[in-house]
Protein backbone atom coordinates (compact mmCIF):
# COMPACT_ATOMS: atom_id res chain seq x y z
CA UNK A 1 0.00 0.00 0.00
CA UNK A 2 2.79 2.38 0.84
CA UNK A 3 4.12 2.75 -2.70
CA UNK A 4 0.70 4.23 -3.54
CA UNK A 5 1.00 8.00 -4.01
CA UNK A 6 -1.69 9.65 -1.91
CA UNK A 7 -0.15 13.08 -1.70
CA UNK A 8 2.63 15.17 -3.13
CA UNK A 9 5.85 14.86 -1.17
CA UNK A 10 9.09 16.15 -2.66
CA UNK A 11 12.35 14.81 -1.37
CA UNK A 12 15.20 17.35 -1.29
CA UNK A 13 17.97 16.52 -3.81
CA UNK A 14 21.03 18.66 -4.55
CA UNK A 15 20.26 20.47 -7.77
CA UNK A 16 16.73 19.23 -7.98
CA UNK A 17 16.34 21.18 -11.25
CA UNK A 18 19.69 19.99 -12.52
CA UNK A 19 22.78 22.25 -12.59
CA UNK A 20 21.19 25.67 -12.59
CA UNK A 21 24.61 27.15 -13.38
CA UNK A 22 23.69 26.76 -17.07
CA UNK A 23 20.96 29.38 -16.59
CA UNK A 24 23.54 32.16 -16.07
CA UNK A 25 23.92 35.10 -18.41
CA UNK A 26 25.88 37.21 -15.92
CA UNK A 27 28.33 35.86 -13.30
CA UNK A 28 28.93 37.33 -9.85
CA UNK A 29 32.58 38.06 -9.00
CA UNK A 30 33.63 38.89 -5.47
CA UNK A 31 36.30 41.60 -5.07
CA UNK A 32 38.15 40.32 -2.00
CA UNK A 33 39.57 43.81 -1.29
CA UNK A 34 36.18 45.44 -0.85
CA UNK A 35 34.54 42.42 0.76
CA UNK A 36 34.40 42.49 4.61
CA UNK A 37 33.03 38.88 4.82
CA UNK A 38 29.68 39.96 6.35
CA UNK A 39 28.09 36.86 4.74
CA UNK A 40 24.95 38.69 3.51
CA UNK A 41 25.46 37.39 -0.01
CA UNK A 42 25.49 33.79 1.26
CA UNK A 43 22.35 34.42 3.28
CA UNK A 44 20.47 35.97 0.36
CA UNK A 45 21.56 33.48 -2.29
CA UNK A 46 18.31 31.67 -3.33
CA UNK A 47 20.26 28.62 -4.50
CA UNK A 48 22.50 28.45 -1.40
CA UNK A 49 25.37 28.49 -3.89
CA UNK A 50 27.70 30.66 -1.74
CA UNK A 51 29.64 28.77 0.94
CA UNK A 52 30.50 30.02 4.42
CA UNK A 53 33.91 31.19 3.26
CA UNK A 54 32.13 33.02 0.42
CA UNK A 55 33.18 30.76 -2.44
CA UNK A 56 30.62 30.69 -5.23
CA UNK A 57 29.59 27.27 -6.59
CA UNK A 58 29.24 28.08 -10.26
CA UNK A 59 27.60 24.68 -10.98
CA UNK A 60 24.49 26.01 -9.30
CA UNK A 61 24.80 29.86 -9.27
CA UNK A 62 22.06 30.93 -11.69
CA UNK A 63 23.34 34.51 -12.06
CA UNK A 64 20.28 36.16 -10.49
CA UNK A 65 22.47 38.99 -9.11
CA UNK A 66 20.83 39.14 -5.68
CA UNK A 67 24.23 38.85 -3.99
CA UNK A 68 25.53 41.81 -5.94
CA UNK A 69 22.42 43.80 -5.21
CA UNK A 70 22.51 43.09 -1.46
CA UNK A 71 26.23 43.44 -0.86
CA UNK A 72 26.66 46.50 1.42
CA UNK A 73 30.21 47.02 0.20
CA UNK A 74 29.36 46.71 -3.50
CA UNK A 75 32.11 44.04 -3.57
CA UNK A 76 30.21 41.78 -6.00
CA UNK A 77 30.10 42.70 -9.67
CA UNK A 78 28.00 40.99 -12.32
CA UNK A 79 30.18 40.23 -15.35
CA UNK A 80 28.87 39.10 -18.73
CA UNK A 81 29.53 35.49 -19.48
CA UNK A 82 31.79 35.22 -22.55
CA UNK A 83 29.95 32.13 -23.73
Amino acid sequence: MSQRRRLAISRPVTGACGKTGSWRVFSPLIDREKCNACGLCAMYCPEAAISEDLAIDYDFCKGCGICANECPKKAVSMEREDK
Binding site: M1, S2, R5, R6, L7, A8, I9, S10, R11, P12
Partner: protein, 370 residues
Protein backbone atom coordinates in the same frame (compact mmCIF):
# COMPACT_ATOMS: atom_id res chain seq x y z
CA UNK B 1 -22.01 1.96 33.54
CA UNK B 2 -25.27 3.48 32.32
CA UNK B 3 -25.59 7.15 33.13
CA UNK B 4 -27.28 10.23 31.71
CA UNK B 5 -25.25 12.73 29.73
CA UNK B 6 -25.45 15.30 26.97
CA UNK B 7 -24.18 14.73 23.45
CA UNK B 8 -21.25 17.04 24.15
CA UNK B 9 -20.22 15.07 27.25
CA UNK B 10 -20.54 11.81 25.28
CA UNK B 11 -18.26 13.12 22.52
CA UNK B 12 -15.69 14.20 25.12
CA UNK B 13 -15.89 10.79 26.82
CA UNK B 14 -15.25 9.07 23.48
CA UNK B 15 -12.26 11.34 22.83
CA UNK B 16 -10.91 10.34 26.25
CA UNK B 17 -11.23 6.69 25.22
CA UNK B 18 -9.52 7.30 21.88
CA UNK B 19 -6.76 9.22 23.71
CA UNK B 20 -5.52 11.46 20.89
CA UNK B 21 -1.99 12.77 21.31
CA UNK B 22 -3.13 16.29 20.44
CA UNK B 23 -6.40 18.20 20.79
CA UNK B 24 -6.38 21.71 19.36
CA UNK B 25 -9.67 23.57 19.51
CA UNK B 26 -11.41 26.91 19.85
CA UNK B 27 -14.64 27.13 21.86
CA UNK B 28 -17.94 28.07 20.17
CA UNK B 29 -21.59 27.60 21.14
CA UNK B 30 -23.00 24.94 21.11
CA UNK B 31 -19.73 22.88 20.93
CA UNK B 32 -18.17 24.44 24.03
CA UNK B 33 -18.69 21.69 26.59
CA UNK B 34 -16.84 19.21 24.34
CA UNK B 35 -13.58 21.15 24.48
CA UNK B 36 -14.17 22.28 28.09
CA UNK B 37 -14.62 18.67 29.22
CA UNK B 38 -11.56 17.51 27.26
CA UNK B 39 -9.49 20.31 28.81
CA UNK B 40 -10.67 19.17 32.25
CA UNK B 41 -9.73 15.55 31.47
CA UNK B 42 -6.26 16.77 30.47
CA UNK B 43 -5.74 19.01 33.49
CA UNK B 44 -6.98 16.30 35.87
CA UNK B 45 -4.57 13.81 34.30
CA UNK B 46 -7.36 11.48 33.11
CA UNK B 47 -6.35 12.13 29.50
CA UNK B 48 -2.71 12.39 28.52
CA UNK B 49 -3.19 14.62 25.47
CA UNK B 50 -1.47 17.82 24.51
CA UNK B 51 -4.36 20.32 24.66
CA UNK B 52 -3.57 23.37 22.52
CA UNK B 53 -5.91 26.34 23.07
CA UNK B 54 -5.63 28.28 19.81
CA UNK B 55 -6.63 31.74 18.69
CA UNK B 56 -9.15 30.66 16.07
CA UNK B 57 -10.75 27.70 14.34
CA UNK B 58 -8.48 28.24 11.33
CA UNK B 59 -5.53 27.82 13.71
CA UNK B 60 -7.22 24.87 15.41
CA UNK B 61 -7.25 22.87 12.21
CA UNK B 62 -3.78 24.12 11.24
CA UNK B 63 -2.47 22.89 14.59
CA UNK B 64 -4.21 19.55 14.04
CA UNK B 65 -2.62 19.29 10.59
CA UNK B 66 0.80 19.97 12.07
CA UNK B 67 0.25 17.36 14.76
CA UNK B 68 -1.34 14.75 12.52
CA UNK B 69 1.42 14.87 9.91
CA UNK B 70 3.85 13.62 12.58
CA UNK B 71 1.69 10.49 12.82
CA UNK B 72 -0.02 11.58 16.05
CA UNK B 73 -3.73 10.91 16.65
CA UNK B 74 -5.53 14.26 16.56
CA UNK B 75 -8.98 15.63 17.44
CA UNK B 76 -10.82 18.94 17.30
CA UNK B 77 -14.40 20.21 17.47
CA UNK B 78 -16.27 23.25 16.19
CA UNK B 79 -19.62 24.60 14.95
CA UNK B 80 -21.14 26.81 12.30
CA UNK B 81 -19.22 30.10 12.04
CA UNK B 82 -16.12 28.36 13.38
CA UNK B 83 -16.32 25.63 10.74
CA UNK B 84 -16.63 28.30 8.07
CA UNK B 85 -13.56 30.12 9.40
CA UNK B 86 -11.74 26.75 9.35
CA UNK B 87 -12.82 25.99 5.77
CA UNK B 88 -9.43 26.47 4.12
CA UNK B 89 -7.72 24.14 6.58
CA UNK B 90 -10.59 21.64 6.39
CA UNK B 91 -9.78 21.22 2.73
CA UNK B 92 -6.04 21.12 3.44
CA UNK B 93 -6.44 18.28 5.93
CA UNK B 94 -8.17 16.11 3.33
CA UNK B 95 -5.67 16.96 0.60
CA UNK B 96 -2.83 16.17 3.00
CA UNK B 97 -4.51 12.81 3.71
CA UNK B 98 -4.53 13.34 7.47
CA UNK B 99 -6.91 11.16 9.55
CA UNK B 100 -8.06 14.00 11.81
CA UNK B 101 -11.39 13.42 13.62
CA UNK B 102 -13.59 16.45 14.22
CA UNK B 103 -16.91 16.75 16.02
CA UNK B 104 -19.07 19.44 14.46
CA UNK B 105 -22.09 20.55 16.44
CA UNK B 106 -24.46 21.60 13.70
CA UNK B 107 -25.62 25.18 14.03
CA UNK B 108 -27.19 27.71 11.68
CA UNK B 109 -25.06 30.25 9.79
CA UNK B 110 -25.45 33.98 10.43
CA UNK B 111 -26.74 36.49 9.81
CA UNK B 112 -29.44 36.34 11.13
CA UNK B 113 -27.47 35.29 14.19
CA UNK B 114 -28.67 31.92 15.36
CA UNK B 115 -27.19 29.32 17.69
CA UNK B 116 -29.69 26.54 17.05
CA UNK B 117 -29.56 23.37 14.99
CA UNK B 118 -29.04 23.38 11.23
CA UNK B 119 -26.98 21.12 8.95
CA UNK B 120 -25.96 23.69 6.34
CA UNK B 121 -22.63 24.35 8.10
CA UNK B 122 -21.35 20.79 7.63
CA UNK B 123 -23.08 20.32 4.29
CA UNK B 124 -21.08 23.26 2.94
CA UNK B 125 -18.00 21.10 3.57
CA UNK B 126 -19.39 18.16 1.58
CA UNK B 127 -16.91 18.54 -1.32
CA UNK B 128 -13.82 18.75 0.92
CA UNK B 129 -12.85 15.07 0.98
CA UNK B 130 -13.88 14.61 4.60
CA UNK B 131 -16.09 11.66 5.49
CA UNK B 132 -19.24 12.87 7.24
CA UNK B 133 -21.57 11.04 9.64
CA UNK B 134 -24.68 12.57 11.26
CA UNK B 135 -25.77 11.00 14.55
CA UNK B 136 -29.23 10.78 16.09
CA UNK B 137 -28.65 10.09 19.78
CA UNK B 138 -26.20 10.72 22.62
CA UNK B 139 -25.08 7.07 22.63
CA UNK B 140 -24.56 7.22 18.87
CA UNK B 141 -22.45 10.37 19.27
CA UNK B 142 -20.09 8.45 21.57
CA UNK B 143 -20.05 5.39 19.31
CA UNK B 144 -19.57 7.40 16.10
CA UNK B 145 -16.53 9.26 17.49
CA UNK B 146 -14.87 5.96 18.47
CA UNK B 147 -15.56 4.49 15.04
CA UNK B 148 -14.45 7.70 13.32
CA UNK B 149 -10.86 7.24 14.55
CA UNK B 150 -10.79 3.60 13.42
CA UNK B 151 -12.18 4.50 9.99
CA UNK B 152 -10.11 7.65 9.39
CA UNK B 153 -6.87 5.91 10.37
CA UNK B 154 -7.48 2.79 8.26
CA UNK B 155 -4.78 2.64 5.58
CA UNK B 156 -7.46 2.11 2.89
CA UNK B 157 -9.02 5.46 3.90
CA UNK B 158 -6.57 7.92 5.48
CA UNK B 159 -9.07 10.73 5.21
CA UNK B 160 -10.40 12.97 8.01
CA UNK B 161 -13.85 12.22 9.46
CA UNK B 162 -16.42 14.76 10.67
CA UNK B 163 -18.96 13.55 13.27
CA UNK B 164 -22.01 15.82 13.21
CA UNK B 165 -24.50 16.23 16.05
CA UNK B 166 -27.46 18.61 16.18
CA UNK B 167 -26.82 21.76 18.19
CA UNK B 168 -28.78 21.72 21.48
CA UNK B 169 -31.14 18.99 20.26
CA UNK B 170 -28.28 16.57 20.91
CA UNK B 171 -25.32 18.56 22.18
CA UNK B 172 -27.23 19.81 25.21
CA UNK B 173 -29.84 17.08 25.52
CA UNK B 174 -29.33 14.51 28.23
CA UNK B 175 -30.06 10.90 27.35
CA UNK B 176 -29.13 7.49 28.81
CA UNK B 177 -25.57 6.69 27.80
CA UNK B 178 -23.22 3.78 28.35
CA UNK B 179 -19.51 4.67 28.55
CA UNK B 180 -17.62 1.82 26.90
CA UNK B 181 -13.90 1.21 27.38
CA UNK B 182 -12.38 1.45 23.90
CA UNK B 183 -9.73 -1.11 24.78
CA UNK B 184 -8.01 -1.98 21.53
CA UNK B 185 -11.01 -1.29 19.31
CA UNK B 186 -9.03 1.51 17.66
CA UNK B 187 -5.77 0.08 16.29
CA UNK B 188 -2.65 2.20 16.78
CA UNK B 189 -2.23 4.85 14.11
CA UNK B 190 0.39 4.19 11.44
CA UNK B 191 0.66 7.09 9.00
CA UNK B 192 2.65 5.97 5.95
CA UNK B 193 3.50 9.55 5.00
CA UNK B 194 4.36 10.81 8.48
CA UNK B 195 7.22 13.31 8.53
CA UNK B 196 10.57 11.80 9.47
CA UNK B 197 13.60 13.91 10.42
CA UNK B 198 15.77 11.16 8.99
CA UNK B 199 14.03 11.43 5.61
CA UNK B 200 13.04 15.07 5.20
CA UNK B 201 10.43 15.97 2.58
CA UNK B 202 8.41 18.84 1.26
CA UNK B 203 4.63 18.42 1.90
CA UNK B 204 1.87 20.13 -0.06
CA UNK B 205 4.44 21.18 -2.59
CA UNK B 206 3.80 22.47 -6.07
CA UNK B 207 2.02 19.76 -8.02
CA UNK B 208 1.72 20.43 -11.71
CA UNK B 209 -1.15 19.74 -14.06
CA UNK B 210 0.33 16.38 -15.03
CA UNK B 211 0.18 15.01 -11.41
CA UNK B 212 -2.43 16.96 -9.46
CA UNK B 213 -5.55 15.22 -10.82
CA UNK B 214 -4.05 11.79 -9.94
CA UNK B 215 -3.84 12.79 -6.28
CA UNK B 216 -7.40 14.07 -6.29
CA UNK B 217 -8.54 10.76 -7.81
CA UNK B 218 -6.76 8.96 -4.97
CA UNK B 219 -8.93 10.89 -2.50
CA UNK B 220 -12.07 9.80 -4.35
CA UNK B 221 -10.77 6.24 -4.59
CA UNK B 222 -10.26 6.24 -0.81
CA UNK B 223 -13.70 7.79 -0.28
CA UNK B 224 -15.23 4.92 -2.27
CA UNK B 225 -13.12 2.34 -0.44
CA UNK B 226 -14.20 3.91 2.86
CA UNK B 227 -17.76 2.54 2.46
CA UNK B 228 -16.38 -0.98 2.92
CA UNK B 229 -14.16 0.12 5.79
CA UNK B 230 -17.18 1.76 7.44
CA UNK B 231 -19.21 -1.45 7.15
CA UNK B 232 -16.34 -3.53 8.52
CA UNK B 233 -15.79 -1.11 11.41
CA UNK B 234 -19.50 -0.98 12.22
CA UNK B 235 -19.69 -4.78 12.23
CA UNK B 236 -16.62 -4.99 14.47
CA UNK B 237 -18.23 -2.36 16.72
CA UNK B 238 -21.44 -4.41 16.95
CA UNK B 239 -19.43 -7.53 17.88
CA UNK B 240 -17.42 -5.61 20.48
CA UNK B 241 -20.05 -3.33 22.02
CA UNK B 242 -23.34 -4.87 20.92
CA UNK B 243 -24.69 -1.79 19.12
CA UNK B 244 -25.35 -2.08 15.39
CA UNK B 245 -25.22 0.84 12.95
CA UNK B 246 -25.66 0.99 9.16
CA UNK B 247 -24.87 3.57 6.50
CA UNK B 248 -28.48 4.60 7.12
CA UNK B 249 -30.99 3.41 9.77
CA UNK B 250 -34.09 1.92 8.20
CA UNK B 251 -37.33 1.77 10.18
CA UNK B 252 -40.41 -0.19 8.97
CA UNK B 253 -39.42 0.20 5.28
CA UNK B 254 -40.03 -3.41 4.22
CA UNK B 255 -43.59 -2.85 3.00
CA UNK B 256 -43.55 0.94 3.02
CA UNK B 257 -45.33 2.86 0.23
CA UNK B 258 -43.78 6.14 1.34
CA UNK B 259 -40.42 6.69 3.02
CA UNK B 260 -39.28 9.69 5.03
CA UNK B 261 -35.57 10.42 4.63
CA UNK B 262 -33.84 12.77 7.09
CA UNK B 263 -30.61 13.20 9.08
CA UNK B 264 -29.87 13.75 12.75
CA UNK B 265 -32.57 14.05 15.43
CA UNK B 266 -35.26 14.66 12.80
CA UNK B 267 -34.44 11.21 11.43
CA UNK B 268 -35.29 9.67 14.77
CA UNK B 269 -38.40 11.74 15.37
CA UNK B 270 -39.55 10.57 11.91
CA UNK B 271 -39.83 7.05 13.34
CA UNK B 272 -42.50 8.28 15.75
CA UNK B 273 -44.32 9.84 12.80
CA UNK B 274 -44.12 6.50 10.99
CA UNK B 275 -45.78 4.75 13.93
CA UNK B 276 -48.48 7.44 13.99
CA UNK B 277 -49.11 7.09 10.24
CA UNK B 278 -49.16 3.29 10.42
CA UNK B 279 -51.90 3.70 13.01
CA UNK B 280 -53.87 5.62 10.36
CA UNK B 281 -53.32 2.87 7.80
CA UNK B 282 -50.59 4.74 5.87
CA UNK B 283 -47.73 2.29 5.18
CA UNK B 284 -44.88 4.66 5.97
CA UNK B 285 -41.24 3.95 6.74
CA UNK B 286 -38.20 6.10 7.49
CA UNK B 287 -34.51 6.09 6.61
CA UNK B 288 -32.16 8.15 8.75
CA UNK B 289 -29.10 8.85 6.64
CA UNK B 290 -26.05 8.55 8.88
CA UNK B 291 -23.16 8.64 6.40
CA UNK B 292 -23.59 11.68 4.15
CA UNK B 293 -20.07 11.26 2.77
CA UNK B 294 -19.56 8.78 1.22
CA UNK B 295 -23.15 9.24 0.11
CA UNK B 296 -25.02 5.97 0.59
CA UNK B 297 -27.07 4.17 -2.02
CA UNK B 298 -30.62 3.98 -0.63
CA UNK B 299 -33.21 1.56 -1.99
CA UNK B 300 -36.11 3.96 -2.57
CA UNK B 301 -37.35 2.60 -5.88
CA UNK B 302 -41.05 2.19 -6.40
CA UNK B 303 -42.00 4.28 -3.38
CA UNK B 304 -42.92 7.87 -2.68
CA UNK B 305 -40.07 9.68 -0.95
CA UNK B 306 -40.40 12.60 1.47
CA UNK B 307 -37.00 14.17 2.21
CA UNK B 308 -36.60 16.56 5.12
CA UNK B 309 -33.61 18.85 4.69
CA UNK B 310 -32.48 20.77 7.77
CA UNK B 311 -30.32 22.72 5.31
CA UNK B 312 -30.63 24.67 2.12
CA UNK B 313 -28.50 25.45 -0.90
CA UNK B 314 -29.71 28.75 -2.29
CA UNK B 315 -30.63 28.62 -5.96
CA UNK B 316 -30.69 24.84 -5.88
CA UNK B 317 -32.70 23.35 -3.02
CA UNK B 318 -32.44 20.88 -0.17
CA UNK B 319 -29.10 19.13 -0.56
CA UNK B 320 -30.22 15.73 0.73
CA UNK B 321 -33.25 15.83 -1.62
CA UNK B 322 -31.08 16.98 -4.53
CA UNK B 323 -28.53 14.26 -3.84
CA UNK B 324 -31.20 11.54 -3.75
CA UNK B 325 -32.85 12.83 -6.93
CA UNK B 326 -29.44 12.85 -8.63
CA UNK B 327 -28.84 9.27 -7.52
CA UNK B 328 -31.82 8.21 -9.63
CA UNK B 329 -35.32 7.16 -8.59
CA UNK B 330 -38.46 9.25 -8.33
CA UNK B 331 -38.07 12.94 -7.55
CA UNK B 332 -38.77 13.34 -3.84
CA UNK B 333 -41.20 15.67 -2.07
CA UNK B 334 -38.56 18.04 -0.71
CA UNK B 335 -39.43 19.52 2.70
CA UNK B 336 -37.21 22.29 4.07
CA UNK B 337 -37.74 22.22 7.83
CA UNK B 338 -35.83 22.80 11.07
CA UNK B 339 -33.59 25.63 9.86
CA UNK B 340 -32.07 27.54 12.77
CA UNK B 341 -33.70 25.21 15.30
CA UNK B 342 -37.23 25.62 13.91
CA UNK B 343 -39.30 23.17 15.88
CA UNK B 344 -40.44 20.14 13.88
CA UNK B 345 -42.47 17.51 15.73
CA UNK B 346 -43.45 14.01 14.72
CA UNK B 347 -46.94 15.39 14.11
CA UNK B 348 -45.53 17.89 11.60
CA UNK B 349 -43.58 15.11 9.90
CA UNK B 350 -46.73 12.99 9.65
CA UNK B 351 -48.38 16.01 8.01
CA UNK B 352 -45.59 16.24 5.42
CA UNK B 353 -46.23 12.63 4.51
CA UNK B 354 -49.99 12.97 4.32
CA UNK B 355 -49.82 16.08 2.13
CA UNK B 356 -46.84 15.01 0.07
CA UNK B 357 -46.54 16.32 -3.54
CA UNK B 358 -43.71 14.37 -5.17
CA UNK B 359 -41.34 16.50 -7.23
CA UNK B 360 -42.25 19.69 -5.36
CA UNK B 361 -40.47 21.67 -2.67
CA UNK B 362 -42.16 22.85 0.54
CA UNK B 363 -40.73 25.26 3.10
CA UNK B 364 -42.32 24.33 6.41
CA UNK B 365 -43.95 27.29 8.13
CA UNK B 366 -43.63 29.54 5.11
CA UNK B 367 -46.95 30.58 3.69
CA UNK B 368 -47.87 33.06 1.03
CA UNK B 369 -47.07 36.22 2.91
CA UNK B 370 -43.51 35.45 3.95
Amino acid sequence: MLTVATGNKAVAAAVKEAAPAVVAAYPITPQTEIVEQIAEYVSSGELRSQYIPVESEHSAMAACIGASVTGARTFTATSSQGLQYMHEMVNWAAGARLPIVMANVNRALGPGWNIWAEHTDAIQERDSGWLQVYVGSVQEAFDAVLMAFAIAEDERVLLPVMVNLDGFLLSHTMQPFEVARAGDFIPPLHLPHAIDPAAPGGYGTLTGPEDYFKLRWDIERSMRDSAGVIRETQERFARTFGRKYGMAEEYRCEDAEVIVVAMGTLGREAEVAVDLLRGEGIRAGSMRVRWFRPFPRLDLSGRDVVVIDRDYSFGFGGVLAGSLAAAGGARPFSVIAGLGGQEVTYEDIAGFVRERRPGEEFWFGVNGDV
